[in-house]
């Protein structure tokens, strides 16, 4: 059935420029429904021949009102919203948020929970880097590499679904612990997947690393220097690709990162090739960390034994009145978090993922603000796009790894 066409559709943005600077240049609109911009970014570019003179990056097409939603949910029931920020590595968001609330509550995690959270953070980081590299390579035409990486990522998703119940947006973190403990055989399957991952990732290295076309498209494209990157707020793999070994896991260790041995891969020039290679090396480092954590895991209690936030055991809920009331109040009113504010940051797959929480006491937050790396990177993206060719926009954008949920919140 066809609809009567709307004669005028409103333009949701106001571009920064409508006339070109250089004579003979053309203003081109790229996106937002564009595969290279991941469906939610609009770039208004001034093109002179094939060269991009300047760009105006517009985000916000996936703004879903995360902060406003959080103000009407309890501290626990907003965890699914937090998941959907950086949906490629959902567990990192969960744990970063839970840690911020735990700071307000003054809770210290059990060792098993700390190690398990670290392990799952690294596992999520691997999934995110696999997705980013797969998408970036596919956008340049390397369909085979995409299929390899998405296959191994699918094994990771199924494996995490065995633990958390969901493939993509897990909602597994809980304030004071985790939703449930590891099922039997989970760690054996984890080792199998890590071994299979070695094979798949090596194949992609073989296809792409010394490939003439790949090097021509990625080397010296989208270059940014360290000082400029810091000025524009870049963190994470983009900052590391410029040569600065900055990583919150080493600089301000949290969870169990202080007990692990790992390196920080850095690039040399800050171009697209370095960003690709830093992510591939980070996958290797994450695998190394996961293998260490498998050895460090000891049996023990998972959730902290604090009735302000941990749901009591079901056996107790059905037999004792205190546990029943505790359970009831935690579900209906939410954990009562003391008044205060805190900012807590984790090293997300894209950089510094921070949560600024304001509590006025009570079970519902006053403010939940997410400092998202992708949003800040969009502010500086034009430094990597201006001056290069129009076709370079695709790999550069792919290497920035803009995740819409995180950027627009």
């Amino acid at each position: 059935m066809s609809l009567p066409p709307l004669t005028t559709l409103p333009n949701p943005i106001r571009p920064a420029f409508t006339k070109g600077l250089t004579p003979g240049s053309v203003i081109v609109n790229i996106g937002p429904s564009h595969p290279a911009t991941h469906g939610t970014i609009q770039i208004v570019a001034e093109i002179s021949g094939e060269r991009v003179v300047r760009t105006d990056v517009h985000c916000g097409y996936l703004h879903r009102g995360f902060e406003k939603e959080c103000e009407s949910h309890t501290w626990h029931t907003l965890i699914p919203y937090v998941d959907r920020l950086n949906y490629c590595s959902a567990l990192i968001n969960d744990f970063a948020y839970c840690e911020a609330v735990e700071k307000l509550l003054g809770i210290e995690l059990t060792p098993r929970c700390r190690h398990l959270r670290t392990l799952l953070s690294e596992y999520s980081r691997i999934a995110d880097h696999l997705t980013c590299v797969a998408a970036a390579l596919m956008e340049m035409g390397a369909m085979t590499a995409f299929l390899y990486l998405v296959t191994i990522r699918d094994y990771v998703y199924e494996h995490i679904a065995d633990l958390t119940g969901a493939r993509v947006t897990h909602s597994y973190g809980r304030i004071g612990g985790l939703a449930r403990d590891l099922p039997d055989g989970w760690l054996q399957r984890l080792e199998e997947i890590l071994d299979q991952m070695d094979t798949f990732v090596d194949r992609v290295h073989g296809l792409v690393d010394r490939n003439r076309i790949f090097i021509d498209r990625m080397r010296d494209v989208g270059v940014i220097a360290t000082a400029e990157a810091v000025n524009w707020g870049f963190t994470g793999p983009i900052l590391r690709s410029t040569g600065a070994p900055r990583d919150l896991r080493k600089d301000t260790p949290y969870l169990s990162y202080g007990e692990l041995e790992f390196e920080i891969p850095v690039g040399i020039k800050g171009d697209n090739y370095d960003r690709y290679y830093v992510r591939m090396r980070e996958i290797d480092e994450s695998k190394h960390m996961i293998r260490q954590l498998i050895d460090l895991l000891q049996p023990g209690p998972l959730c902290v034994d604090d009735r302000r936030c941990t749901l009591p055991d079901k056996q107790a809920v059905y037999t004792e009145i205190e546990a029943l009331i505790n359970h009831f109040k935690l579900i209906m009113e939410g954990p009562q978090v003391p008044a205060g504010e805190t900012y807590s940051a984790h090293e997300g797959a894209n950089g510094e993922l921070g949560f600024y929480l304001v509590s006025v006491g009570g079970g519902v937050p006053w403010k939940v603000h997410c400092r998202s790396p992708s949003f800040v990177h969009m502010g500086g993206a034009h430094r990597m796009l201006d001056g290069y060719q129009l076709a370079d926009l695709v790999p550069t954008f792919g290497s920035i790894n803009m995740i819409g949920g995180e950027c627009d919140r």
């Binding site: 409103p10 949701p12 707020g233 900012y343 603000h369």
Partner: protein
């Protein structure tokens, strides 16, 4: 490398005089300042104390309190790995602070977002177009008096037959 306690103590000692209040909150030094002293203080944080990464600017709405808004800044030092929070209060009638765009490039987008969500005006930032919201959106959604469900659709809804 300067240890965390040392740098934060020095910042507190040096800038504390210009601040209205200082304190530590969960490992972060918090300085409550006057809006007029924002840019000089931030300049000193950047030049003298090496807080080169501007993390975030956001605002909190306290509708029952005057002044109504708290504008909150976070900074990070990539050399010493510590964070600092600056808070400043602005009235509802004139929610204006100075812009940090000349000091940090990343302030551009973050100030745009803070403006459209809360209505905070950043004096000196001439590009305060809507970023996450769209042209034609009326109001500032993250203020407490904006109802969550109030939609302003751009495309009129069609009649949906059940």
């Amino acid at each position: 490398m300067i240890t965390e306690g040392n740098l934060l103590d020095r910042v507190q000692a040096s800038l504390g005089a210009q601040a209205l209040e200082t304190g530590m909150a969960h490992g972060i030094l918090v300085l409550q300042i006057d809006p007029a002293s924002l840019v000089p203080l931030v300049g000193r944080l950047k030049q003298e104390f090496g807080f080169d990464l501007f993390l975030d600017v956001t605002a909190t709405d306290w509708p029952q309190r005057r002044p109504r808004f708290d504008v909150v800044y976070h900074f990070y030092s990539t050399r010493d790995f510590v964070r600092v929070r600056l808070k400043t209060r602005v009235e509802e009638a004139d929610p204006t602070v100075d812009t940090l765009v000349p000091l940090y490039g990343s302030a551009r987008y973050m100030e745009r977002e803070c403006h459209e969500m809360y209505g905070i005006r950043f004096r000196g930032n001439d590009d305060l177009r809507p970023l996450l919201l769209y042209e034609g959106f009326v109001g500032h959604p993250l203020r407490k008096d904006y109802p969550k469900q109030r939609e302003q659709p751009l495309v009129p809804y069609r009649d949906v037959k059940p």
